[in-house]
């Protein structure tokens, strides 16, 4: 199977799952931004998604996207480490044109996944999971009334500045991951050329910055002393 056996096939999977996850981030970030204007509107979106079938299908696809992206990342990194050879260089150097992020995508990815676990415990397990287990008739300690009250949980966690700062650290790591990831995906998909390569890099920087600003506005808003 060339999607596993060939280097470009593996990179294709990385870029497609990556683009898919970026689309998810655009949606998630836009949705989050609403909470700054209206807690009710935000809760309406949360309730609309909830544990309804379409949201569950979306969640499952998303989970698959994440898992495939991560498994391929580990596999590619392992192969690349092996291809570098057993003996390293005594003196290494960096080139001005080489972004730091491009050489540290795995490290950034690990940071992103680490914080994502925290995020899932804080939000997903209190919201969609509670509603879903309730529907399936399972015992949960979660409060069903709060399962679609997203604004409550946002307030609950971000009023604590420690969590706000942790989320900012997470988002900065994600931002760095995206600035390389978006243009790199386009390059792998072959959409780049002498003319488009610099354009794609600019698009990548702008898009990742917009996405991260949507997300980071919330912890920053709370840190500045505002409340929703």
């Amino acid at each position: 199977m060339w999607l596993i056996d060939s280097s470009i096939g593996r990179k294709l999977i990385m870029s497609i799952t990556g683009v898919f996850l970026v689309l998810f981030l655009i949606f998630h970030g836009t949705m989050n931004f609403v909470v700054l204007f209206s807690a009710d509107a935000y809760n309406a979106i949360a309730a609309f998604l909830g544990a309804n079938w379409y949201a569950l299908v979306g969640t499952k696809m998303l989970a698959i996207g994440f898992v495939v992206h991560i498994i391929y990342a580990i596999y590619l990194s392992y192969q690349n480490k092996k291809a570098r050879g057993a003996v390293g260089y005594n003196v290494t150097s960096s080139q001005k044109s080489v972004e730091w992020t491009s050489q540290n995508m795995l490290v950034l990815g690990v940071i992103v996944v680490g914080f994502m676990v925290l995020h899932l415990i804080q939000f997903w397990s209190k919201m969609q999971w509670v509603e879903l287990s309730h529907k399936m008739g399972l015992e949960t300690s979660g409060d069903l009334a709060l399962a679609t009250d997203g604004a409550y949980w946002v307030k609950h966690y971000f009023e604590n500045p420690i969590y706000s700062i942790l989320y900012i650290v997470w988002l900065v790591a994600l931002w760095l991951h995206l600035t390389h990831g978006i243009w790199s995906a386009m390059q792998t998909l072959g959409t780049s050329s002498n003319i488009w390569l610099p354009r794609i890099k600019v698009i990548s920087n702008v898009l990742s910055t917009v996405i991260i600003l949507l997300f980071i506005s919330i912890p920053v808003y709370f840190l500045l002393g505002f409340n929703i």
């Binding site: 470009i8 192969q79 003196v91 150097s93 080489v98 790199s184 390059q187 792998t188």
Partner: protein
Amino acid sequence: MEKNINVTLKIWRQASPKVKGEFISYKMDNVPTDSSFLEMLDVLNERLLKERKEPVEFDHDCREGICGMCSLYINGHPHGKDGGTTTCQLHMRRFSNGETIVIEPFRSAAFPVIKDLRVDRSAFDKIIQSGGYVSVNTGGAQDGNAIPISKIDADEAMDAASCIGCGACVATCKNGSAMLFVAAKVSQLSLLPQGKVERAARAKAMVSKMDELGFGNCTNTGSCEAECPKSISISHIARLNREYLNAKFTD
């Protein structure tokens, strides 16, 4: 302006592929700054021969930057820190008096060390043999403009064809990937009418050979482009990706 400098060389010495290598330091006094880097190594080897010691083995041939035979990882850069030049085009005027120069072989799992600073780069030949050619003799040169080729394509093909296959891209890549080399070879042929006919089969064959030989996966860091003595652009890598994906999806 010519002057003489004293430098210390820290050179990787390894007797054969399997044995463990080590760095050995050599003091070089009164090196004329007008001499080339390889001439300086020649002087060192003359001295070692006179002292009845093993000379340092290193690859070189044309010494004018077109054959792709010289290599060397000098102070952390393949072909030294100057951009767009090969090791044989590097001169001692680029170093300062009293400097320690660390010289290592090109390293990668696919480029095993043969001896000292010489590495086996025949993996590149195997990739070329797998598809980097035009199977049919296309005859003598056509009359000018009999087959119109756009200026853009002609320039791109020419830029790609300037690849000398030295392996600096693999040596500098943190993934030991040969994508820039393969991309240059695929680009050069698929942009022109003679090579276009076999483009799909070529892209598939060369990429699969590259993977089989243990080169890594490209992660678009761009360090190959930065260190390439012929400044070949990574936009050729995008073209290779396109060629390969097109070939696979039309299967």
